[in-house]
């Protein structure tokens, strides 16, 4: 009835191979650059493969560059942004799934608009807001801004997960005598923890990878996020591409692994949250 699976495999990989190559080639070069001996980085003609693998580059980069500081900054900002976004987003998502109220549609529309207004058009205003509030280079305030831009995403994703937790369960708890708060804490919350974790991780990755707001508003290099720290390294007169690539790997690999693992959740969440 069907084309044989073997034949399908052949066709599939044949069609996919150019895309797969274009995706993987840069990553292979990244890794090879990271562990090349320094003199081979600028050899003419260039060597694709290093003559020896300098894995110790991964250690020297810590002492030679500011990367550790930037990583810590990013960790702080992303964690704080995630906490704030979840703390304000989860109650909103709960209300959206559990109550039918006046203004529900308006709020939904508001979220849609905030999601669409990308930071680039607001960044001048954001910078002036930070100047006015006297919080330029404040990592905490940057985290608040990140949280604001992630609220819509959080509410949508959480909403689509919360909808899968039957309302019956809480109602049953009420009938058994549990108050609203108690049923929330003992019935709803334990069941929502996995969903909240997933959405939190996404928000973390979003904040970790943010570029334009940090780039436009952070002035002092000691408050740079990892993204800015790496860009800064490519601005020197003589660029240490091996250090740059190691930093790229350090900045990307953990979140890439996290993200790849989360991917399947995003497909479901996005389509039920944003499309429906």
């Amino acid at each position: 009835m069907r084309r044989s699976k073997r034949k399908q495999t052949l066709i599939a990989w044949l069609v996919l191979s150019p895309v797969v190559f274009v995706i993987l080639f840069p990553f292979v070069v990244t890794l090879l650059t990271a562990i090349k001996p320094r003199n081979e980085l600028t050899a003419i003609p260039p060597h694709f493969l290093p003559s020896q693998f300098h894995w110790e580059n991964f250690l020297t980069v810590w002492s030679e560059t500011n990367i550790s500081h930037a990583l810590l900054n990013s960790l702080y900002i992303s964690t704080l942004a995630t906490l704030i976004a979840i703390l304000v987003g989860a109650p909103a998502a709960y209300a959206m799934t559990r109550f039918d109220f006046r203004g529900r549609r308006a709020y939904r529309f508001f979220l849609l608009v905030t999601q669409m207004l990308s930071p680039i058009v607001l960044v001048l205003g954001l910078f002036r807001l930070m100047v006015t509030a006297g919080v330029v280079d404040s990592l905490s305030f940057l985290a608040v801004i990140y949280a604001a831009f992630n609220v819509a995403f959080c509410v949508w994703m959480l909403q689509s997960y919360f909808e899968t937790i039957p309302k019956d369960l809480e109602e049953s708890a009420w009938i058994e005598g549990a108050g609203r708060v108690r049923s929330l804490l003992t019935i709803f919350l334990p069941l929502a923890v996995p969903a909240i974790t997933i959405v939190a991780m996404f928000t973390f990755v979003n904040s970790w990878n943010e570029f334009i707001i940090a780039f436009s508003t952070l002035r002092d290099s000691s408050s740079y996020t990892i993204q800015l720290g790496i860009i800064e390294m490519t601005g020197y007169y003589s660029i240490r591409w091996d250090y740059v690539m190691i930093s790229v790997i350090l900045a990307s690999l953990p979140v890439a692994i996290l993200f790849s693992w989360l991917q399947k959740h995003l497909i479901g969440g996005l389509t039920t949250g944003a499309v429906k």
Partner: protein
């Protein structure tokens, strides 16, 4: 003491009325079944009774006390949901004990009560399992255990058996009835299954499109349906309906179908000449007769259920179903001659669909 009274209860959803003028009296220890087709408002009514839905107007009296606005937590009811609503992250023990813990009962006492209920329901071996590791019947029992253990004033059931297979449904039906009898707790039970209603109820409340059609004991509803809806809703196989009109001759009313077949009816004084009526005959009120005395039925389908022979066919152009004892031989029967118990037949006005008395 656990009585309930619903007086002129109404429910509106943004201007659309979905329950109209509901009046029900529920006595202590009574087993009341709310029955109707899906969308008739029976589940909404149950949710209003336990406080999950607001009552738009009317009065809900619990033991004589107006309780329209009492929160569900304080109504002292327990409910078995259609989905069972077992807490998926708690094991069977914690599911059953949840309500008792909220009441801050002593640990030892909770343990005793849960053990006792679990034994009563035959789930004592599963107390540390999570709901997802239970079969449908076991989940059903846990849901019942959770309802029973608090010894509430009222049990509420919202189509509790609809997720079970046919065999288990019969078993659980008996168990619920037995438990309710033993505990004597006033019970309100919602279902769309007429067999459940007939077998379990002390009192049936039949709903249609947000109205109460008829209230009464199963026997009252079965023997004296007040309307076409009530007559067709109860009974399996369903009541046969024959359309015709009344011809009066002297003081006697006769029923004649369009194809000029005369069916015997009760000679009710209220029947008018030329009135269009519907004659209802229950399949089990039909008996075999002779060519000389009976109506001629052409058999179309013969079902042998083991307990009975059920025959579907026509008398003239009129469809009819009849049920007979399993002992009667019907192999290859094409034609039968039937009589029925005229005093048990029903007449309905074709326009108002109400019973003619």
């Amino acid at each position: 003491m656990a009585k309930m009274q619903l007086k002129a209860i109404k429910k509106d959803y943004s201007g659309t009325a979905i329950l109209h003028d509901i009046n029900i009296q529920i006595d202590e220890g009574e087993f009341v079944v709310l029955i109707g087709e899906s969308g008739c408002g029976k589940s909404t009514l149950l949710r209003m009774i336990c406080g999950l839905e607001e009552i738009s107007s009317g009065e809900l009296l619990i033991d004589g006390v107006l309780s329209n606005h009492t929160p569900p937590q304080q109504r002292d009811m327990s409910m078995v949901f259609q989905s069972y609503a077992l807490y998926p992250h708690m094991n069977v023990y914690d599911n059953i004990a949840y309500g008792l813990k909220i009441q801050k009962q002593p640990k030892e006492q909770i343990k005793q009560k849960v053990q006792k209920i679990a034994t009563l329901l035959g789930i004592e071996g599963y107390l540390d399992r999570l709901p997802k590791n239970l079969s449908g019947g076991q989940r059903q029992r846990v849901a019942m255990g959770r309802a029973i253990v608090r010894d509430p004033k009222f049990f509420l059931f919202d189509e509790p058996l609809s997720n079970l297979d046919a065999k288990l449904r019969v078993v659980m039906r008996k168990e619920i009835k037995l438990l309710q009898k033993r505990l004597g707790t006033t019970t309100i039970y919602v279902t769309h299954d007429q067999v459940e209603a007939m077998t379990m109820a002390d009192k049936i409340v039949l709903l249609d499109q947000g109205h109460i059609v008829q209230t009464g004991t199963p026997k009252e509803l079965y023997d004296h349906p007040n309307s076409l809806f009530a007559a067709t809703f109860l009974g399996s196989p369903g009541i046969s309906l024959i359309y015709g009109r009344i011809e009066r001759e002297g003081g006697v009313a006769h029923f004649v179908t369009e194809d000029k077949i005369a069916f015997p009816i009760q000679n009710l004084p209220s029947l008018q000449e030329n009135q269009e009526v519907i004659l209802g005959i229950r399949p089990r009120d039909i008996h075999l007769s002779t060519e000389a005395e009976g109506l001629k039925m052409d058999v179309l389908i013969h079902e042998y259920t083991g307990a009975e022979n059920i025959l579907y066919g026509t008398i003239g152009n009129n469809e009819i179903s009849a049920a007979f004892s399993r002992k009667e031989p019907f192999e290859n029967a094409n034609t039968l001659y039937l009589v029925y118990e005229v005093d048990k037949s029903h007449l309905f006005d074709a326009k108002t669909k109400q019973a003619i008395l």
